[in-house]
Amino acid sequence: MLQINNTMKTSRRNFIKSAGSLTVLFSLDHTGLLASVTAGQDPELPGILRRTPAVSAWLEVLADGSVRVFTGKVEQGQGLCGAIAQVTAEELDLKVSQVEVVIADTRRTPNEGFTGASSSTENSVLSVRYAAAAARRELMDLAAVALGVPSETLKMLDGKILQKSGGHPLSFFELLDGRKLKSEVRLPLHLKPKEQYRISGKAVPREDFKRMIIGGEMYIQDLRFPGMVHARTVSPPAYDARLLSFDETGLRKAVPVLKTIRDGSFLAVICEDEFQAVKAQRHLAQQVKWSVLQHKSTSLPVPELLKSLTVASSKVKTAPVPFPEGIPAIRSSYYKPYVMHGAIAPSCAVARYADGLLEIWTHSQGAYPLRDTISDLLKIPAAQIQVTCLRGSGCYGHNGADDAAAEAALIAMAFPGRHVRLQWSREQEHAWEPYGTAMYMELEAILEKNGRISHFRNSIWSDTHYIRGNPGYLNVAVLRDAPFERKKNPSGSGGYRNADLYYTVQNQTVTANFFNGPLRTSNLRSLGSYANLFAVESFMDELSDHAKIEPFDFRIMHLEDQRAIEVLDKLKHKVAGLPKQKNTGMGIAFCRYKNSAAYIAVAAQVKVHPSTFKITLIKLWAVIDAGEIISPDSVVNQIEGGMIQAASWTLFEKVGFEQQTVQSRTWTSYPIIRFNDVPEVEVEIISRPNEKLQGVGEIAMCVTPGAIVNAIAIACGQRIRNLPVGDQLSIKNR
């Protein structure tokens, strides 16, 4: 019988060793992000390559012949690492399995900031491609000298170089003889011509899937160090609550505790064992005394409340002919509530402070920016902090990761020498993550006799979609004794993304108003586009109703871009044969993301029960055009998943709050979609190999809500203008 005592024991030292430098073999089966890479003529190097030109900063040849690539970005399911492995293997004629990708780590990778929009990700892939091409040139030159033949007579194969005519191969490692690559990435640079690609554009099953399916080490949660201790924090009941007192003696009588840490209103406890830490957390939660400010209660409903908090406005678009006052216009307003990232794994971090060095392991979106923030927060030089990013569960933006990392760092500083693992509870993640902001949209239009929109006006209200920057964005920074101020800048382009029409309407006026709302908010998948396109695409159906033109035709008559028209045509064709059923409606929505990126049209089929008003979302169809497609199944996966997540937001999700207190604290008080409500999904891709590849991670979020509420309106005649759909229909009718 195997004996294991109570101290943690693991046979898997390798993960620890490498998670000090966690190297992960990543998949290729993802949207490639490679379009810009294929533009071999690109005369400009990405900025990051100009700052970090040394090939050795990006690539390393290992003794076993494989190549290790360093990226300053993190993998968030957007396919970054797959694409990086793919371009490296392509450029150096390696097998994909010979490429290892290391994600953001201040000890090893270049500084590429936070991982965010798809355009920045494209640059990262491009950088690696150029670095690999430079490495190829250096290795070929070395081989030419070693073999005494011109480099044109040589070829690369699986980590070796040999003469095209055959003969003894020299491995990359032999050629370098243990040295690092020493060239720099400089133009001009020869990239492999696209016609010779043998890996790009092929669907390769994800390398990481096999490890995932057998429970291999993968995520930040799987990190275990010898002697690691467990920490938990005790969160205030509300944003503005302050810690008055807690009974340490009582706590120590109940649970064996290594240390409690109090800094202002921040309270944490460290125990040897994880369950002890959980018990200590529960004990403290019961007994801690908090002060809660008494706010005047307001009777304003939420949209009006948020509007009343407006602090700035800006003109996004001004029509050549101002919106005519005095003529009858069609008006509608729409509301989207605060929505959670709602990652399935609550945030987690590990930190250790020893010999003047602070090490942090996190699932944040960027290693270097987090290091600098924590340096400011804890007032220690950035050079004494190391941040390593590991995978977390899908979070789709800025969730509690940075907070957990900063808190773990603070706790580790107070308990030097050992690794401290901090795990947030489900309730903490629900109540303390930065949400996607609530938004309010007021739309107006005037229709000509022929049904064309002659004037369009949109006023939107939004809080910030980006809160990072000053350390005050972190929960712990405002809770400490010497607090940082939370400097929130609600303005920014994220709020009015897609607030103007892609449809051809000459006179468009768009105003963005920014409010300083009660909840902490930051970036969530597609930013303002979800709310803006919910409004715009609902409004388009309302207008088409007034114009008495059916929704497909009404949209198409306002479009000139053939690619836009084609996604709508294809979708129309797809759903044309659907039999008409009682109490069932089919609704559509269209967008071009950011009015400049990928195209998508979605149809939703919804059934509304005539007496109970129960809504059944039967099916969602999508037709997309994202330019060149590298890995079709990966694109389909992201669109399917995006539609289902968006259906969840639209049907069910809303962060409940009262003053400074969040009420949605579990999956019961903040329900998300479960299997019974999951629709069937079908995705069609229009592939355009010669068009620039566009990211597809966010596009499904933008059109799914409009399609669903339009379908509901057709099914039962009731228009939903406030999300989530929830049970509004039944309430209205009782």
Partner: protein, 156 residues
């Protein structure tokens, strides 16, 4: 503290431990397993599922003392050999039924349990049987396909 003898993936482990410790923490910390995941700790998400005597159960709230004398199987224990996946794992792999993969443990364990207990699996039965497992990435459509694939393979 008391001595608890656990049988996990066919191996016996003798642990000196607080008998109230949830099984999930024991599996992850004392036994260093990664399959079962922490998601909520309150039976709301299914990330922590394990098979106890062949049936999918939440490990996040199950005191370790209650599973003595029972057989616990985790995601790691499903495959019969290094390169031979359990048919349900294989069908998930074939359908590439995940994105981030954090929910995969709950999905696979619950599907195995479902296939163990029901003879005929139609769409509705599968959905009902999977209702307790959450996925934020929206992989459910693929998961449904994977389970149907596994079910039809086992019908043959």
């Amino acid at each position: 503290m008391s001595v608890i003898v656990l049988t996990v993936n066919g191996r016996k482990h003798r642990l000196n431990i607080d008998p109230a410790t949830p099984l999930l923490y024991v599996l992850r910390n004392q036994l260093a397993l990664n399959g079962p995941k922490f998601g909520c700790g309150m039976q709301q998400c299914g990330a922590c599922m394990v098979l106890i005597d062949g049936k999918a159960q939440y490990s996040c709230t199950m005191p370790v003392s209650l599973v003595e004398k029972k057989s616990v199987i985790t995601l790691e224990g499903l495959a019969s050999a290094e390169d031979v996946l359990h048919p349900v794992q294989q069908s998930f792999l074939d359908e590439q039924a995940a994105q981030c993969g954090y929910c995969l443990n709950g999905m696979v364990i619950s599907a195995v349990s479902l296939l163990n207990t029901s003879t005929h699996l139609d769409d509705l039965t599968i959905r009902k049987g999977m209702q307790h497992v959450l996925c934020r990435c929206g992989s459910q459509a693929r998961v449904l396909r994977a389970i149907k694939r596994a079910a039809s393979a086992s019908d043959k």
